[in-house]
């Protein structure tokens, strides 16, 4: 019996939730709402400068200025980026998880190896890949040379974006793999045994047992990948500085808020770009959730 009686029992859970909820409201939800509010002002990044309500002027600029084609291209590229990264990252993560899960020799070592990029952080592995893709006698250029061609890699208007996608997947597949590993381990071994008795071998056991049982894990990974990739900016910043057709919306938000050119202290305008990004993320996440949840229920 609880010492404090019935009422306390009912309210206690909320009491325990309260600190976490407050922190979330104050440091996550609150600022996000403020971003939407700021997008209707001309607030600058400099404290002490007055700011004013300017209504939809920021959005007007976003959609009708000389820079609009850049934002539109950036938004399109963000969608392409997110789709490619999500699909490839999920597939590769699943493959790696199955391989590691098969208890081959050294599987614990491979698990740490796969997760290493996540531990290193974007800046470190971004710089490593910049060195790898150095067109002046870097390893990748030597490889390209074996096939008789050469490239400026991260300085090329055609190659830079695929490279950014590649490095993003390389950097984040550790997360996906580890989550899939956890999911794989929840699948009861008896199912595989039963399947084996019924004649299922590797491919059909994957299709009929592993894949359906992993549905919730797939949901988690796909959602994380979509939302994460739609918000990415750091990998672009480190690899190309936003040049050579690699700028995605996350980078454009950074550029408007802190870009460093004279007068790029326009947090109000940057907020409107961030709201645009939020809109895209919201739509994508809702669609993905709806489809994935339905699939889970079916299974």
């Amino acid at each position: 019996m609880y010492t404090f009686g019935r009422k306390w029992r009912k309210l206690a859970p909320y009491g325990f939730l309260l600190p976490a909820l407050l922190i979330y409201l104050l440091f996550a939800f609150g600022p996000s709402m403020f971003t939407i509010v700021y997008s209707f002002t001309d607030i600058s990044g400099v404290s002490g400068v007055g700011w004013h309500w300017i209504g939809l002027d920021n959005y007007q600029e976003l959609f009708h200025s000389a820079r609009t084609p850049v934002y539109v291209a950036s938004a399109k590229r963000t969608v392409v980026f997110s789709l490619s990264v999500t699909l490839l990252q999920t597939a590769i993560g699943l493959l790696l998880a199955i391989v590691i899960n098969s208890k081959l020799r050294g599987h614990l070592f491979y698990r740490s190896l796969v997760f290493m990029p996540v531990v290193l952080g974007v800046t470190v592995f971004g710089l490593i890949w910049t060195l790898m893709f150095n067109p002046m006698d870097g390893p990748m250029q030597k490889l390209w040379g074996l096939f008789g061609s050469s490239s400026t890699f991260l300085g090329s208007y055609t190659m830079a974006f695929p490279i950014v996608i590649f490095v993003q997947i390389w950097g984040a597949m550790g997360y996906t793999t580890v989550i899939f590993l956890a999911g794989l381990q929840t699948i009861p071994g008896e199912l595989y045994e039963a399947g084996y008795m019924d004649g299922a071998r590797s491919w059909s056991s994957f299709i009929h047992i592993t894949w359906p049982m992993l549905a919730p894990t797939v949901t988690v990974n796909v959602l994380l990948a979509i939302i994460g990739s739609l918000q990415t900016f750091d990998i672009v910043f480190v690899l190309t500085g936003g040049h050579f057709n690699t700028s995605i919306l996350g980078y454009e938000v950074y550029r408007s808020a802190f870009g460093g050119n004279a007068g790029n202290l326009r947090q109000g305008f940057a907020s409107s770009v961030a709201v645009l990004q939020f809109g895209i993320v919201l739509v994508a996440a809702v669609i993905a959730q709806f489809y994935l949840r339905r699939r889970e229920v079916q299974i």
């Binding site: 400068v49 600029e61 000389a66 202290l265």
Partner: protein, 440 residues
């Protein structure tokens, strides 16, 4: 208890009551500055020669004022530094800060963004230094052009730099019997001879893009020296980007790019000095500040620096263009203002300044400096007549695109990018017209 901690939160955010904090500070600082240990934060960017020069000064300063220590607060010298400066000033977490020049926007720049330093001054974050004694040590022109705004002086400019020049390998030139070119045709002839002899004529740091734009600015000014007039006419619509001037700039720049080493678009700024210093390329169009980096990379190398002769007229190719580089300013809300101003006075003394400028490798903004560095001493007469470059005068309108926001968006030009001069100037003009329509 709760209200105390709330008050703490508000003062930490720096927004609520600036008056209360600053009135208490000066008297306390004045009496205690003699004994109390003070740490001054010096925010600046990571340019190795600047940091080396400042470190020397800091040591000497500490000897004179043992209770004051200087601590660096640094970041990479690009957009990252602007972010650092913004956050420090806004958090009242700065004592001495570095920036370029104020370059306040002109009256005809309707609707264009206000330069960040001008914004900080208008917001009261920078200390007014008008009337301080040490200002007299500097060239009046330098102070006026770089640090004067609304008839007050806000900082001291420690040096200027030029970036419309070309480093050249003297040995390779001699080997091929080449002279320093004085016109554009001579430049092309030199480049061709070098290419035939098997060495890449030019190298550039294409990956970071800004070095390309920086050099292109020099092209424009050699061909059209009256940049302030050009700026006014652009804004008034009397000059268009589709006029022959810009096509000439882009065409000539493209000719230079065609003589630039293969895959230069993948070379970043940190590596480009190595390409030149190791003899892989004979010429490097760059800012004069890299002279010390070249010397460090290859101490035996004999190199010189000449203005990029982009014009067909030799008389237009004799001037260097550049800007005021590192300036020191004092944060108005710093609790150690007196100490910070002492530091500025210290570094402005002629002997200290000479030492600083010789290590930093900048061009002097004080008169009568002797250079111990042979290269700088050799260059001193030629660069003393340096003029302010285009980027300090011209301003892009708000909401400008990648084409209409620059007077020479050469990163899109073949072979760096995928477009021809004609395509680029068309896009520049189209964007400019949209920007002018939106400018208010």
């Amino acid at each position: 208890m709760l209200s105390c901690s709330m008050a703490l939160v508000f003062t930490a955010c720096g927004s609520a009551s600036p008056e209360a904090g600053s009135s208490a500070a000066p008297s306390a600082a004045a009496t205690a500055s003699a004994e109390k240990p003070i740490t001054l934060k010096l925010a600046t960017w990571e340019q190795p020669s600047n940091l080396a020069a400042l470190t020397k000064i800091n040591e000497k300063f500490h000897e004179k004022y043992p209770n004051i220590t200087i601590k660096f607060d640094t970041s990479k010298p690009d957009a990252a530094y602007q972010t650092l400066l913004q956050t420090r000033l806004n958090a009242n977490d700065a004592d001495i800060v570095t920036d370029f020049a104020i370059n306040a926007k002109k009256d005809w720049h309707k609707g264009s963004a206000v330069p960040s330093l001008q914004q900080y001054i208008d917001a009261g974050l920078i200390e007014d230094l008008t009337g301080q004694d040490f200002l007299k040590n500097y060239d009046a022109a330098a102070l006026k052009d770089s640090m004067t705004y609304k008839d007050k002086v806000w900082g001291v400019n420690l040096g200027k730099v030029t970036y419309s020049g070309v480093f050249y390998n003297k040995d390779l030139f001699e080997k091929n019997g080449l002279q320093v070119p004085k016109t554009w045709n001579e430049m092309l002839a030199v480049a061709q001879k070098l290419q035939i002899s098997g060495v890449a004529p030019f190298t550039m740091a294409g990956k970071d893009v800004w070095p390309l734009n920086m050099v292109a600015g020099g092209f424009l000014q050699a061909i059209e020296p009256d940049v302030e007039g050009l700026d006014k006419k652009l804004w008034a619509g009397e000059v268009k980007f589709t006029d022959p001037l810009f096509t000439e700039v882009l065409t000539k720049y493209q000719q230079m790019l065609n003589y630039t080493e293969k895959d230069f678009m993948g070379v970043d700024y940190a590596s480009v000095v190595g390409r030149f210093a190791s003899g892989k390329a004979a010429m490097l169009p760059d800012g004069i500040w890299n002279a010390s980096a070249i010397e460090k990379a290859n101490p035996d190398m004999k190199f010189g620096y000449f203005p990029m002769p982009a014009s067909d007229k030799p008389e237009n190719n004799q001037t260097f263009f550049g800007k005021y580089d590192m300036s020191l300013l004092v944060a108005a809300k710093s609790p150690n203002k007196e100490a910070a101003i002492k530091y500025l006075a210290f570094i402005s003394q002629p002997e200290m300044y000479s030492e600083f400028i010789n290590t930093a490798g900048l061009l002097a903004t004080q008169p009568n400096v002797t250079f111990t560095n042979a290269f700088l001493q050799e260059m001193a007469p030629a660069v003393s007549g340096m003029q302010l470059s285009m980027e300090n005068i011209w301003q892009a309108p708000q909401g400008s695109g990648d084409y209409g926001g620059s007077t020479a968006p050469v990163q899109f030009l073949k072979p760096a990018g995928l477009e021809s001069p004609q395509e680029i100037v068309q896009k520049m003009q189209q964007e400019w017209e949209v920007e002018m329509k939106n400018a208010k």
